[in-house]
Symmetry: C2
Subunit: 335 residues, 2 copies
């Protein structure tokens, strides 16, 4: 059977266990031109929270009764499509389910001998692409810049910081708790880290960015974005990648009250959506694959098991109880 997770109702605030429902369906059969993927891992990302909202956004919301949207990686198990052979591995948008039949649109082959499968939905997948284009294309980070990144121990932030270090930037990460901060500096080569759960954020930014910030890569929004605005240098670029601190709020979103710092500092704040860069994914994958082979870029996935544990695992995105890219193995049972 094929276990599938459907959106049952739109959450108000933090999603609860009634938000999704698990159902069993027959494993699909491929039509002519299709193939079936047995999904091994699905990607859990903060952006998923946005897809639950019934409002205009960069992609349509997931509808009630639909399989929850998710990036995924797995193996072709049956095929009526000559491009995708049985036994080969593929990544795409398979959703939170164990099997999917597809004509291949949006799917691409991956090679598990070059990197473990979960890495293809992590540093070599959407989060990695987001980091690469957000930092280099939107943020225009260059050698000598001070790059500050929030959510720095997360899937996107950890890659942002490592690419910035590779490019010769001074890199400061913001993360929650001493364990993550140590990880950034000791394992990922960040120059310094600010523990937003225990440090004073503004003091921390002063200490670690004494000359100000050239690129602030924002994954969190809220007070941290506001504090970063007080530290930007002339001509700084703020990259708006996300605002995880605001995604579950039931009141009005907190806007950055220090935004006039953009004027004083001739700075910009720019939003982007990684899918716009799809034609250039290969360029990024090649660069990042090389950095990985050279040991300069590390990918760390925090993998949980069991499709029935989706809800609890999803909440780790917002509680911060995870380290690196959050992944769910939907094929294997828990325990």
């Amino acid at each position: 059977m094929n276990k599938r997770l459907l959106l049952a109702k739109r959450p108000d605030g933090l999603p609860d266990s009634d938000t999704w429902s698990l159902e069993e369906a027959p494993i699909p059969e491929p039509k002519e031109g299709e193939f079936v993927v047995q999904q091994h891992y699905i990607s859990l990302d903060p952006a998923m929270r946005g897809w639950l909202r019934e409002q205009r956004s960069y992609i349509p919301p997931v509808q009630i009764g639909e399989v929850m949207r998710a990036g995924s990686v797995g193996q072709v198990v049956t095929s009526k499509n000559p491009t995708f052979e049985v036994g080969s591995y593929v990544a795409g948008w398979g959703g939170v389910q164990q099997y999917i039949a597809t004509d291949g649109a949006g799917w691409y082959p991956v090679d598990p001998s070059l990197a473990p499968l979960p890495t293809y939905i992590g540093a070599l997948g959407m989060p990695g692409m987001t980091a690469y284009f957000g930092l280099l294309d939107v943020g225009k980070a260059k050698e000598g810049d001070t790059v500050l990144v929030s959510g720095a121990a997360g899937a996107v932030g950890s890659v942002v910081g490592q690419i910035a270090a590779i490019k010769g930037c001074q890199v400061v990460g913001i993360a929650g708790g001493p364990e993550k901060c140590t990880y950034l500096v000791e394992e990922l080569g960040f120059d310094s880290a600010i523990d937003y759960k225990n440090d004073d954020i503004r003091e921390g930014m002063k200490r670690t960015c004494p000359n100000g910030v050239d690129v602030y890569f924002d994954n969190v929004g809220g007070d941290i974005l506001d504090a970063a605005l007080t530290r930007i240098r002339r001509g700084a670029r703020i990259v708006i990648c996300g605002a995880i601190s605001q995604y579950n709020t039931t009141s009005a979103i907190k806007g950055p009250s220090n935004y006039l710092s953009l004027l004083v500092n001739r700075a910009s704040m720019t939003g982007f959506v990684v899918m716009d860069y799809s034609k250039r994914y290969k360029e990024a994958a090649l660069a990042m694959g090389q950095w990985m082979a050279q040991g300069k870029l590390k990918s760390r996935e925090d993998i949980y098991k069991g499709i029935e544990n989706f809800h609890e695992t999803f909440l780790r995105l917002f509680s911060g109880q995870k380290l690196g890219k959050l992944v769910l193995n939907v094929l294997e049972e828990d325990g």
Copy 2:
């Protein structure tokens, strides 16, 4: 004698009559290399409110006891500087006073036969430069774009809208009251106008910008910026020129709570300071002078009289009781 307006104390909120003090001093004598300007008109701009604040900004604050900073235009009355002849007209940063001795740094000649003197601190002065570079360089407005501008009947906004129209954009202005809105459409060639004092701002934006906004030129901040964020199109540019709605607030500045629209729409919000473009002022002055000669660009100044009326006149910037560029004739007495 030389009447001079000094900063007496830093205001909290809207400046009151104790903020400045008028004093009389002897008319200065030029030293070697200097000349003395008899000032005719000084420029009143919202940015002046920022210069009263004791905080890091793009220029140092005016200090207590100093002459209030202001752009100005006047006539050279004595000179020991061969570049600036007696009888010639000049514009520069003369401050709120009737006479100033200067070595000429930052001053440049103006020709009253080409345009009336007040225009050189209006459409052909800083406000005009701000409009030109903000719209074309920061906002990258191009033919076919929908350009929305707030403070549209003001010194900067009125020029922004007219340049946008010249460039073939669809132009919508936001102003306070039916008189100003009529002026924008009937006199300045805006395509439409929204009366923020009487219309529902969001409904007005829907009505006048049915396909969304490509460039939003923001002079006001606050709720209007927030509303504009809900109407931006993909790839839109928001130009942060000022935030007059927030300048006199004694509580926290209101940040744009809809800023995540930047992400959804791959849009940017960029601040700028016109002084950074000083090397290109000639280019702008040439273009705008030609448009004026062709009747495509109109400059309107709202001129008050009497240096002793500075405070009351200044408040018109924030009450909106003026039309076009606010100017004070400091040479003549009131009435």
